[in-house]
Amino acid sequence: MTDRHEHLDEGTIHAWLDGALPPDESARVEAQSASCAECAALVAEARGLVAASSRILSSLDAVPAGVIPGSSGSIDQLAALRARHGSRKRHWWTDRRIVAAASVVFVAGVSTMVWRVAPESARSPIAEQMADGVQPLSDSVSPTATAPTAPAPPANDMANESSLAREAQGRGAGAAADRPASPFVASPVDAARTIDTTQEQKVAAATSLSRQAANQARLADSVGVDPTRQAEARREVSERVAPVQQSAQQQGQVGKQQGFQQMRPDTMRVTAPPPSFGTRARMAPAVGRASADAASAPACYSLQSAPLVVDSIRLFNEMIPQRSDPSWFRAENFGRSMANTPLQWRQVDSVTIELRVRSTDATGVRFTTNNTLPDVRREDGLTGVTARRIICP
């Protein structure tokens, strides 16, 4: 009896070549390619395709990174990332169009200094105005900043509102009166002043660059998306700023760490009604943290009058990265009908949860965790339902 086996199919061959087959299947394929000439030919061809495509793709890596050498160093990227992460949490910084790493770096550096030297009251107006790029910090930097009598640079609108500036006015000589120096210079702490100056100069460099980038970004936004220019601007800025920011970072290390700790949002667990946090749903809410704590067991709800054929759901802390917004988590239906429907949920705001069937953009529901009606404006396919927290079976 002759056994006419089917020749190996392409997918299996490639899986075998990629080492993705379980041992028994792998052995089978190997044996078959040894015994069947046609199969061996297919395997040889596949090997050729694997090698060829690798080679072809590697030629794409010859794309030049940028004009300025060293622009894409990993260390710079890591530094920029850290700064960006820290400063994103700043509540007073709301202009999300200024996403240039450097302007964010600038913000981080500045706010670090603000915390170290500025009284509480001075923080917001200064920071806001700086974020708006109203006042070039560089203009107010003077190498002899330690001397209160140093001649101050041109009019500094932002400092007017700062109590530090008033302090500077009071303390400084007449030169500082009508043109208050940078609030950071007028530090009540003499010892800090020297350090601030150096830091200030560095931040100043960062500032003017980032301001350029910010302005460019703003301009681009108003004119229309110009991502290439934005990218170039960001690249330029991040190249020049990252090393600057790094040394400023070292000096401001303590302040920065404090800042990070302050800014880290409270870890939220699904099992408890989350505290309020920033309203932008775009930012992954802190509840997104897949907590290792055993106390963060899945939460279960019973939904009333849902259009989806779900009634009892279980919300997990496990993320589903498939959607572009990575704040989606796994959920399951364990009710009477259609159990184990793949669902996903996310936190819309501090009390509202949205639930959808996975992999579709179709209907979804929202419910609240505080027995109120969810706010579903005319968003597509969303229905508000009431939900009751239940104990997970």
Binding site: A15, L60, V67, R88, R229
Partner: protein
């Protein structure tokens, strides 16, 4: 996420992610921006199970969404940027021949379907079949076929382009950049 965790992630995955994105986008700066965004999101997690798959999935989806919005715009601007860049700086390494190779490779890559393309690029960065399946929402069993198809199509397109002197190869998802 702790700082040393971030460093570890960065050390392990930043370079492959940037390379994956660069190959996919054809723009190193854009690739690095997206990579930054990916790691920013990773930072917000306490921990990641299946890290590589997660990172590549987020990267892929970021690209997919943005690309949809700005596909044509970006292509045009990229041309402008390249012109501008060339005016300022001569890339020292890229010879004319390698530039030509890169252009052909880009065209060949564009000629294959988006999903196949992504699967292949991920595979090139060392993701295993499970990771690719998770990142692209495929079944593990179909990854082999997808890669086979992608590799074949890529090689054939490239060959055709070389033979045809760089004429545009039809097909693929031009709209789904």
């Amino acid at each position: 996420m702790k700082d040393d965790e971030l460093e570890r992630l960065f050390r392990l995955y930043h370079a492959p992610l940037v390379r994956y994105l660069t190959r996919r986008l054809g723009d190193r700066d854009w690739a690095e921006e997206v990579a930054q965004e990916v790691f920013l999101r990773a930072l917000r997690q306490d921990s990641l199970t299946s890290e590589r798959s997660w990172l590549f999935a987020v990267a892929t989806n970021l690209v997919r969404d943005e690309a949809r919005r700005t596909a044509r715009q970006r292509r045009h601007l990229q041309l402008l940027a390249e012109q501008q860049r060339d005016a300022v700086f001569e890339p020292p390494i890229t010879s004319a021949e390698r530039a030509q190779e890169a252009a052909l490779a880009r065209q060949a890559l564009e000629s294959i379907a988006e999903r196949d393309r992504l699967a292949l690029l991920m595979r090139e960065e060392g993701l295993n079949y499970e990771e690719i399946a998770a990142a692209l929402e495929l079944s593990v069993g179909s990854v082999g076929t997808t890669l086979a198809r992608a590799r074949r199509r890529l090689a054939e397109s490239y060959e055709a382009l070389q033979a045809g002197g760089g004429r545009r190869v039809a097909g693929g998802d031009e709209h789904d950049r």
